[in-house]
């Protein structure tokens, strides 16, 4: 089951560089293990995460099978205006998950 913990500073000044911490619950199944019936388990990982803020993509990471389960990502961005940061994950097989977090700039 997918879940995400997104941690932002409670408030930021205009122009301030802020750290955004993202922890995700996902097994990041690399695939290839036996399924016990003669076949193998298919790969099922989150292969991309993007973050969009103030109309622009501010962060993107492509993940591969070497990334551990429940990956943690942290990145910096410049606080421009109060608004939602939209996070989107793309999973093998085409499913996508989205979360938003509000950055307050004052």
């Amino acid at each position: 089951m997918f879940n995400a913990r997104i941690t932002l500073p409670p408030q930021a000044k205009p122009g301030e560089i802020v750290e955004i911490k993202v922890l995700v619950r996902h097994p990041m199944d690399r695939g290839g293990q036996s399924d016990g019936r003669g076949g193998t388990v298919p790969r099922k990982i989150l292969n991309r995460m993007t973050a969009t803020y103030a109309g622009a993509e501010i962060f993107r990471i492509d993940m591969n099978t070497g990334v551990a389960a429940n990956p943690f990502v942290s990145f910096m961005t410049r606080a421009i205006e109060t608004g939602d940061i939209l996070f989107e994950w793309r999973e093998d097989g085409g499913a996508t998950y989205t979360r938003t977090a509000r950055l307050t700039v004052a």
Binding site: M1, N3, R5, T7, K21, L23, R25, P27, A68, A69, N70, F72
Partner: protein, 255 residues
Amino acid sequence: MTGALRLPALLLALLALTGLAWAGDVVSGSTFLSPELRRQQDDPSRNPAWFWVDQGTELFVRKPAGGEACLGCHGDPVATLRGAATRYPQVDAASSKLLNLEGRIEQCRVERQHEPAFGYESPELLALTAYVASLSRGLPMSVRTDGPARPFYDAGKAFFERRQGQLNLSCQQCHDGLVGQKLRGDTISNGAGTGYPAYRLEWNTVGSLHRRLRACALGVRATQFDYGSPEYLALELYLAARAKGLPVETPALRR
């Protein structure tokens, strides 16, 4: 704060230098984490075990088809269930069986909610156990070892002290005698178990204390008992009694 953290580290360094046997009190498994891992454990934005607590919080309020939600009886769990985990394992008065927190939750689910049991080590039971245990964070362990619990305590103590497996080791030889020394890449702890269910890096997931005990048994090539077996329940009681006074740390991070 740094002073308090520095002392165990200094003690460990001293032990490593002299190769002395552990002579101190039982300490938490967190003592043996690297400073970086301890910071990750203590930061909810970086400790993935909190996902299981979140899931448990949701399960606690969800109404099953056949009966009442947990919340129906345990209203305001943050107050009413605070400290509950410190008293487990305990002897169930009705059945005279030893129950740990997992066993009590399963019993509640089957007898009061009239739902099929989750099954030991299922994600749902781990989540609910982690949630209920997390309500006792910081409170000292205080299991009862007298009265009806006495025979279980004695059985657990005997299990801890008995040599077992192909390597012919007892739990005591490492977890009393060689604490602070290295076993392959890891540091031997007292086996306090106060952080379980814990997120173990080796598992990439949250697991129960019994899963950890089974991993220990595999390591010394001894019989792996079943999840929730009488042997492990008795041992869990003995470990909890050894850890008396140590704070509950669920959901902890362990290597």
